[in-house]
């Protein structure tokens, strides 16, 4: 089940399911997101934390291999920038896609921003920061 066809099928099913689940949880709804981050409503937070807890248990039972990853110099600054951007625009990289799919047309601007940011990081990464990630990226 590791052929290219199987990986393609897995990506299509994962994408469809992820878009469906994330939309139905309400991650595309800016008001819900802000209520989660300000702990006014723990529903989405529990959905995320509960998912992580379930995954940890199942992976431990199935002895899924742990991939290595170094805590390189870019992790904390990158996560701070991402957290700020997420709180302002309401988008982690999958969310603007489902926002547009729900009819929020301005989220197209967020997608353009994400594209510019990703290209900027690759450009800056090769010129200015030479991070030793210790493994392939996620």
């Amino acid at each position: 089940m590791r052929t290219r066809g199987a990986v393609l099928l897995a990506n299509i099913i994962t994408g469809l399911a992820l878009g469906y689940v994330v939309t139905n949880i309400g991650f595309g709804d800016y008001a819900e997101l802000n209520r989660m981050f300000t702990f006014q409503d723990l529903r989405m937070f529990l959905a995320f934390a509960g998912a992580v807890a379930l995954i940890v248990c199942v992976f431990a039972l199935l002895r899924v291999r742990r991939t290595p990853g170094r805590i390189h110099a870019g992790v904390v600054p990158g996560a701070v920038l991402f957290g700020t951007g997420w709180a302002i625009s309401g988008g982690c990289p999958a969310i603007p896609i489902v926002q547009v799919a729900s009819g929020y047309l301005p989220a197209l601007v967020t997608i353009v921003g994400v594209v510019v940011g990703i290209r900027l990081c690759r450009w800056a990464g090769t010129r200015y920061f030479h991070l030793d990630r210790g493994s392939c990226e996620l």
């Binding site: 290219r4 099928l9 897995a10 990506n11 299509i12 994962t14 994408g15 992820l18 878009g19 469906y20 689940v21 994330v22 949880i25 309400g26 709804d29 800016y30 819900e32 997101l33 802000n34 981050f37 959905a47 995320f48 998912a51 995954i55 992976f59 199935l62 291999r65 991939t67 290595p68 170094r70 904390v76 996560a79 991402f82 700020t84 709180a87 302002i88 309401g90 988008g91 982690c92 990289p93 999958a94 896609i97 489902v98 799919a101 729900s102 009819g103 047309l105 301005p106 989220a107 997608i111 353009v112 921003g113 994400v114 594209v115 940011g117 900027l120 990081c121 920061f129 990226e137 996620l138």
Partner: protein, 222 residues
Amino acid sequence: MSTYWPWWAGAVGLALVTINYTLVTDRSFGVSSAWDRVLHWRRERRLERMEEEFTDDQALVEALAAATAEHFGTGAGAPAAPQAPYQVPYGESQPPPPDVERTPDETASVTGAGPAPLFTQAALLVSVFLGGLIAAFTSGRFQIRYDMGPGFRDLVTADPLTMVVLLFLGGVLVGFGTRLAGGCSSGHGLNGCGRLRPVSIVATAVFFGTAVGVSFLLWKVI
């Protein structure tokens, strides 16, 4: 306007998506990584071609090693494989075949099963859109809007121009930050934390904590 899923349904849904992907492909998935690779498709295609050539070379080396071992026997002193001289000193009693077998294992443990092919990453992004579309239509929430909803209007800005500027800047921060940190809420948050990778736990704690801080600022101060 229907209500959203209860928390446990969301948790089971997200967990099933992640676990299913891992079991089928033996890989992690990350939306920001998919974005990154699709946006740099020229470079990624070049890397994929190099990888294929490398795999061929590796297969050739392994076939030569097996043929040599068969011809000369697998005794301790036999020069069993082309890569053996720096791994197995003469006189060591360990036979060479385990060395030949161990190499792919080590490669796998360092790189995982290798990155998913580029076209499958593009398929992931398109499928996220279609999945979102299906969810929006089936729940009756689909509505073409030129704003980001009442939440954004009340908490951030009601001015359309400021909204566009902030969404763009926020998007840049998300794109730049996720790639600098090496993952996003799916790559680090679900797949990485699920595997208890220290780097993912640190990244998730920091981006979540920052988002909490900035959200409180937007809610209470600004």
